[in-house]
Amino acid sequence: MPLELTAFDAELLAGAHGEAAAFAMRLLAKFAEAVGARRFLDIEAAHVDGCLYLGKASLDFVERLIALGGRVRAPTTLNVGSVDLLHPDLFRGDAQLGANGRRLMQAHLALGCLPTFTCAPYQTRHRPRFGAQIAWGESNAIVFANSVIGARTERYGDFIDLSCAMTGRAPEFGLHIGANRRARILVEIVDIPAEWDGAELACVAVGHLVGRLGEGVPAISGLPATTCEDDLKALGAAAASSGAVALFHAIGLTPEAPTLDAAFAGLAPERVVRFTADDLREAARSLSTIRDGAPIDAVTLGTPHFSIGEFARLTPLLEGEKPRVEIWINCNRETLEALRARGWEEKLQAAGVILVVDTCTYVTKLMRDGQRAIMTNSGKCAYYAPGNLGAEVAFGSLRECVASARAGRVTRL
């Protein structure tokens, strides 16, 4: 089936809105054909995951758009880059890589993208509204936007997220279409380990298990009533690491799933999966590569970026004895401002916290060479750190992370 182009799409292709937009639209048209889309739709916003330097091709692509006089047509937030532009001294990687990384971040700004440099654009003033059609990159942001906000995006990646931004258009397919958003798999959480307080560990464990279920939108029932937005963030990030999950529903918690019936659009689940407390314990345990009691060199938090709510839970835990190992925390610039406004930055620093913005400890070389054994409360960080950083990792709750930082070894509560 050929693509149906609007008059505006045809103008974009013909170069009436500039050569850069035409270049982006050519790519988008081929992408649309490849995924079987029939037409394009307008987007309200884009989130571009192209700032992390992976090789010269990513730089060449953005600089080509600049050379062609390009400018984004939709409000466009940026994902993390390779360096912390506000704290450049934190970068401990190869100098050439750092220079290219900085150049790539600045090239995106030259196209008119916003300097958010965060994997959690949903924690900024640019958070989309329910039902908004958007084109987002970054797996955790995609799953959050679809699931927790009810905005609509497919899984966009390099070049395509930016092409959507440059044109203000996205192919109409997949999760942009209401009918494709209904749940197919029912995931019943039978019980949660009694020793786990709150929903924090349960959500990561469930996310890790849900990612492995394969194709089909999952709807999860039986999460704790105390599950908050940060817990859902962690669930989505874990599911989008162990699998390609772009949308989940949580019955009674997420906006498209007030009831089981609403999540399944009145139809029966195609599959029902049950997880018990033992399954959850095993999932959480599998995220650690070091044993309890083993020494750790650092704690890293904020993958995805730490929210102001998470800082509010952390600060009381830090009162008292100073941790023996550094605590690295990734957050975005808006959250850093909010911390400063509350007078928390000094308190955190006094407790041995190193604040990182614009990037993340798990994708770039920030931590010291000797920091090979790390602890985190992030399922996503635990999943990727061994491969990305060559680090050994322990996964645990926020309280366990702080207790372990104090003890200098993996401590369970």
Partner: protein, 143 residues
């Protein structure tokens, strides 16, 4: 007499090479060393194989949305595949190939083929892929 198989063009171009059929989907990001063209995903059955100059036959793309830049980078460096044949539509693979064609003039044709052609194509010594605007033709030349 050559055998011809028809496919749907996803990215245009013409190339010849020995087939390398993957038994499982591959993510180019994290799965392909863009400096050497070798498969480095330690969970992948074809880990250690080199895609350079091969007609890469993939059941589907997989996982990370950072795959397009990795494919484009491999093609820029000159260690990418000669052509890609897919069983399932995949936008990420197509965009990587198209970006390399636009930026570097290095065409890596991508075509969608039918499952029933998979076995005989993977068994060939060499494949000649011509992905034109009106469709693709994959020939198994007589040796």
């Amino acid at each position: 007499m050559s055998v011809f198989v028809a496919g749907q063009t996803l990215a245009q171009g013409a190339a010849t090479g020995a087939p390398l059929a993957l038994d499982e989907p591959l993510s180019f990001w994290g799965g392909l060393d863009v400096k050497t063209g070798r498969i480095i995903d330690r969970w992948h059955p074809q880990v250690g194989e080199q895609v350079t100059g091969r007609v890469l036959m993939m059941p589907a793309g997989r996982g990370s949305s950072s795959g397009s830049a990795a494919l484009a980078e491999a093609l820029r460096v000159g260690v990418g595949p000669a052509a890609i044949l897919l069983l399932k539509r995949d936008g990420i693979v197509v965009v990587g190939a198209l970006a390399a064609a636009e930026l570097y003039g290095r065409a890596c044709p991508v075509a969608l083929i039918a499952r029933e052609d998979w076995t005989r194509l993977r068994a060939a010594g060499r494949l000649d892929v011509r992905a034109g605007p009106d469709g693709s033709r994959i020939a198994v030349p007589d040796d």
